[in-house]
Each structure stands twice: as structure tokens, then as C-alpha cells.
Symmetry: C2
Subunit: 342 residues, 2 copies
């Protein structure tokens, strides 16, 4: 008989709370680590890097060796799905992602149900990481949510999303079809990740910002519900954390109606709203990455405040957005010592 | 005995509600109007344009002639205050504002109490407009709120505010002093506007977005409270509308603790949050300017929905952000007909 260990992160997602909440950081496998930059330098480009299971597993594990994070998140990118649908994606140094012409909806629809197979290298990374990771540490798989991925697919680059939001008003039928395709591809991709070893899934709606309530309902809420349903229909029961970044007041509606097991909060959350959501769902968040970078007494005071305001309920400590590349490692160590009490 | 007429907008700000709410649009004096572009073309630069009372009054009145707006808002800019404090401000075509080196805090502190006098041309515009405007239409004066103005002063241009938010963490004392100077200058500037004919004041916190709760408390809530107190200390009793754009869930805290008479809501508000705020204060907002530009049935459906969800309480119909330059005039006419029922 083997002793089964439940990672703290999973316990929180099933409703438990801890004096010292579990902790991980968005983009914890990243450029603030010299060992990451060293491996990154050996890959010809960013997309190849994501598709190299040996390198991707290595950088996923690097922060786990250095810090007491409670979870690893697979190193990959939210823009792998457009590639799986036939749209060219590449990264230009200092400029972020670039995407080629949007393929026809018909051709993308044909590829949607094979997204998992097309992205099987990410599964290989997950399997490698799971084999190397201690059992008390959870492994997170993820995907960009349909609207966020669609903004890049439509605009062809990082942007203020004005073009995509205008497209949503002017081409509602085409956008709805694209979202439906993305829902199918995302379900297939996430299901593949679970089969490969992911114990938790995170859905990154990085650009919920600025959407009116009807647009949020149509472009965020409904597609997220459809993805959750698609996963359950395949018998997948791992917990899902939804992250509607920039949803503002609408995050409460999100927590009420989307059947995720946890809600990740962005930097601009109030203590009161966090507690209100916590009555419905476990929460994760929401330290300001700029404060983590700045450091000092104000950083540790804020860490204490967040644990005080949310630590009585199910709570996962994290940032409100990804860690910045020029964040001093000493600040990360200080925060983790404070959160873990060690 | 003269018959006194209370503008509908002022009635709403004192708590009344109407079947057809009063309506005005942010940036209603602007580039979507050919007559605006014609006057603008006669001014050598944008700042001179703001400081030319004849031209500024003319463009303020243009939309009032064309549309049944219930209020005029003085044509000016939120970046006039840095100029009054000695910082150079100019606009480059297609690039937005540019600001010169930040003057010393001491030199700005010396100028703060004379901001109204330095910006007296804006007062002349207000007086001209008030003389020409029908008594049932309200005249709004405004200023940029301290944090928003500070972001431009610190960064020297439009930006993602990451530089200013980092400055706020790294130079808290200098920033607090700058904010204090801006509070004093803003009170003096707004008091001058009331003396010149403004019947309502609006405080534009255009960049509340992305602030953590402690930063929001320090950089938005406290300075707004100080401005309201400064105005009351001078015996000024005109209603003030606060607009913490991008405050997300924190807009509720804002409405609870800042003694403004009305709260303007941005595009991303929920019906429920709007109603919650409306129990405390009259609200204004929040049609998506992108939807106004896109037009069609979905536009009129959204207008109906907003009036249905908020029209039972004190409500001013408006956009959630400024009208876009390429908005078809026909769409504005359709919305105004729908809102006014005429």
C-alpha cells in the first residue's frame, strides 16, 4: 500500500484553508532566473523552445529546485493553439508575438479536434515534469482562453484589443464561430494535458479588460462554461482555475456562473470582493508584480495584509500578473519565506 | 420674478430619477464633428486652442446646437495643470501629449495656489458658454485627478503607467508631495471654474486602472477626498462627479467613501454593481464607445438595456469613455433619440 499525498494546492481547490497558504507565481519559469536565460539561449526561437520537451521540462523544474513553490506550471505559451489551427505564430525579439494571416474558419474547424495531438510535445513536457516532481507539489497545465487567443489571432500581434473588440461588434457571426472552434481546440488540448500528467488546469483570459457586460457574457462567460462542460463530458475531473484578468466588477459574476473550482484574481482586486468570491470559490492572487520587483518593507507588509484578509478561507498565494523579468531573486525569496513561514 | 429652471442633470445629481435620463457624452466637443475640425484647423496647436476662449467656447457649443445633450462640458484638457505648475506640455500630431522635464517640487508648490489664475482663460470660456447656453442645460467644468495627471508628469507622455506605478513604489515621499501639490492646484483650478460659471464639476481619474487596493486608497481615494474637502472649505457646493476609470471592483469602495455627488462608470461595469452604487449615489455611464461607433440593432438594444437596468434610479446616460473621432454622427443621433424619446 502506497501512502498517497495530496498537494496543498489541490486541498485548497477542494475548499480547505491553511495558516500558510500554498504559493506559486505566474511565469515562475522565466527570465528573472539566470538558469532560465541560459537554457533559453540554446533554443533557436521561442516556439521551438516550447516544443522541446527536454528544455521545456528543465525550465519548468528550475524554479521548483530553487524555491518552495507548491506547484509547477508547464512551460508553454497561450499562442500554441493558433499554430495548431494552422495560423503562423512567431516571436520577434523585444516586440512580442506576431501572427500570420487568419486561416479560413473551415480549415480551422477541421483542425480543432486534433489540437491535443498537434500539441503533443507539451504533453511530453508534462510527463517529464510529473516524473521529476515531488508528489506534494502539484503540476498545472494551462491554455489561453478563447477570447484572449482570438484577440491575437484577429489583430496579429499584442495590442490594445480595440481592433478585436470592434471586430466583435462588426462581425459577430464570424467571431462566434472562431470562439466555438477555439473552445473545441482548447478542450482537446487541455484533455491531452491531463492525460499527460496535469493535475490542475488554468484557463488564462489575459484580456478580459475593457469588455462591456454583454461582451463579457458572450466572449468570456459562455466560452468558459463551454470548455468546462467539454472537459466534464470527457470525464475529466481535475480542478480548473479560471483567470479573467481585468474583469473588474464582472469577476464576481464570473465566479458565480462559471463552474471553475478556483478563481484567480488580478492585482486590482479589493479585499472585500475577494472575500465575497471566496464564499463561492477558492481564490488565488493577487500581489502586484511591480511591488514584488520594488521590494522593501511595503512588500512584506502587503504580503501579510493579503494573508490576513484572505487566509481564513481557501486561498492560493500568487501574483496578480506574471513575474517581471527584472525582479530581484532576493525579493522572491523574502516573499516565499513570509508566505511559507520558513 | 424670474422663473428658475433646474437642469435635469442637476436634478439627477440631487437624487431624482427620470423616465428619460439626461444625457451627454464624454468628448462630445470633438473630432467626430466636421465643424469642430474646421475650428481646430484655425488654431496653431492644441494648447493654444484650449487657451483661446472664443474658439474653445465655440467648440463647446457646437454639439449643443446639433444634438439634444443635457449638458455642455467646457473644452479644455486634463494636462493644463502641469503647464500651470511650470512643466512644458505640447501635443505632437498622432502621438498624443509630450511633457518636458518635471520641475522641482518646491517650484511647483509655489505655483499650486495660483493654478486658477494661471488657467483663467478656461474660466473665460466657461463664462462665454454659460451666457450662450439655455438655462435648462447644465455647464460642466472639469480637471484631471492628481494621480492621472501625475502619471503624465512622471512619464512625460501617454503610457501604460508602469513607470508611474513603479515610481509610486520606489519614491513614495516624492510622489505623495507631488499629489499634495496637485490637490491644491486642482482645488484652485476648479474653484475658479465655478466662479466663472461651472454648475457641475467632473474629476477625471482616467488611469485608475491596474492599481492595487493600497495604491488605489493612497493615490485615488485620499486625493479625491482632499479635493472635495478643499472645495467645501472654500464654500463651493456645486455637485462633483467622480470618474475612477478602470477602478474595477474598487469603484464600489470609491462610491462609499469619496463624498462626490455622482459616480461615472466605465464601459466594464456590471448591471448589478451599477445598481449597488446607485443605492449610495447617482451614477453616470457607460455605453461602450466602440459599440456607438459600430452601430446597428445591437447598439439600440444596449441603450434600452442600460436604461432598463439603471433608469429606475438617479442616472445620467453617457459613454464609458470618450467618443471616438470616427464615430458616425447618425449613430449619435439614433442614440440620443432613443434616450430622450424624441
Amino acid at each position: 500500500m502506497t501512502l498517497s499525498v495530496t498537494p496543498k494546492l489541490l486541498s485548497v481547490l477542494s475548499g480547505q484553508s491553511f495558516d500558510h497558504p500554498p504559493v506559486w507565481f505566474m511565469r515562475q519559469a522565466g527570465r528573472y532566473l539566470p538558469e532560465y536565460r541560459a537554457v533559453r539561449a540554446t533554443a533557436p526561437d521561442f516556439i521551438s523552445f516550447c516544443f522541446d520537451p527536454e528544455k521545456a521540462a528543465e525550465v519548468t523544474l528550475q524554479p521548483m529546485r530553487r524555491f518552495p513553490y507548491d506547484a509547477a506550471i508547464v512551460f508553454a505559451d497561450i499562442l500554441l493553439i493558433p499554430g495548431a489551427l494552422g495560423q503562423k505564430v512567431w516571436f520577434e525579439a523585444g516586440e512580442g508575438p506576431k501572427l500570420g494571416e487568419l486561416p479560413s474558419l473551415d480549415s480551422m474547424a477541421e483542425r480543432a479536434s486534433q489540437a491535443g495531438a498537434a500539441l503533443s510535445k507539451v504533453g511530453e513536457t508534462l510527463t517529464r515534469v510529473r516524473a521529476a516532481l515531488e508528489p506534494e507539489r502539484a503540476l498545472i497545465g494551462f491554455a489561453g482562453a478563447p477570447w484572449t487567443v482570438a484577440t491575437y489571432m484577429i489583430e496579429g500581434r499584442s495590442s490594445d484589443r480595440v481592433g478585436a473588440r470592434t471586430y466583435a461588434y462588426q462581425n459577430p457571426e464570424a467571431l462566434d464561430r472562431l470562439i466555438t472552434i477555439l473552445v473545441e481546440a482548447t478542450v482537446d488540448y487541455l484533455a491531452m494535458q491531463v492525460a499527460a500528467g496535469a493535475q490542475v488546469l488554468k484557463l488564462f483570459e489575459s484580456w478580459a479588460e475593457g469588455l462591456s457586460e454583454p461582451q463579457f457574457e458572450r466572449l468570456v462567460i459562455q466560452p468558459h462554461i463551454a470548455i468546462l462542460k467539454g472537459l466534464r463530458d470527457r470525464g475529466i475531473t481535475v480542478p480548473v482555475i479560471g483567470f479573467p484578468r481585468g474583469a473588474g466588477a464582472l469577476v464576481e459574476t464570473y465566479a458565480e456562473v462559471v463552474p471553475v473550482q478556483g478563481v484567480a484574481l488580478d492585482t486590482q482586486i479589493s479585499a472585500a470582493m475577494g472575500r465575497r468570491i471566496q464564499k463561492i470559490k477558492p481564490i488565488q492572487g493577487a500581489l502586484d508584480p511591480l511591488l514584488l520587483r520594488a521590494g522593501g518593507d511595503q512588500l512584506l507588509r502587503r504580503v501579510d495584509q493579503m494573508i490576513e484578509q484572505w487566509g481564513q478561507g481557501p486561498y492560493i498565494f500568487n501574483l496578480g500578473h506574471g513575474i517581471l523579468p527584472d525582479t530581484p531573486i532576493a525579493h522572491v525569496e523574502q516573499v516565499l519565506a513570509r508566505v511559507t513561514g520558513k
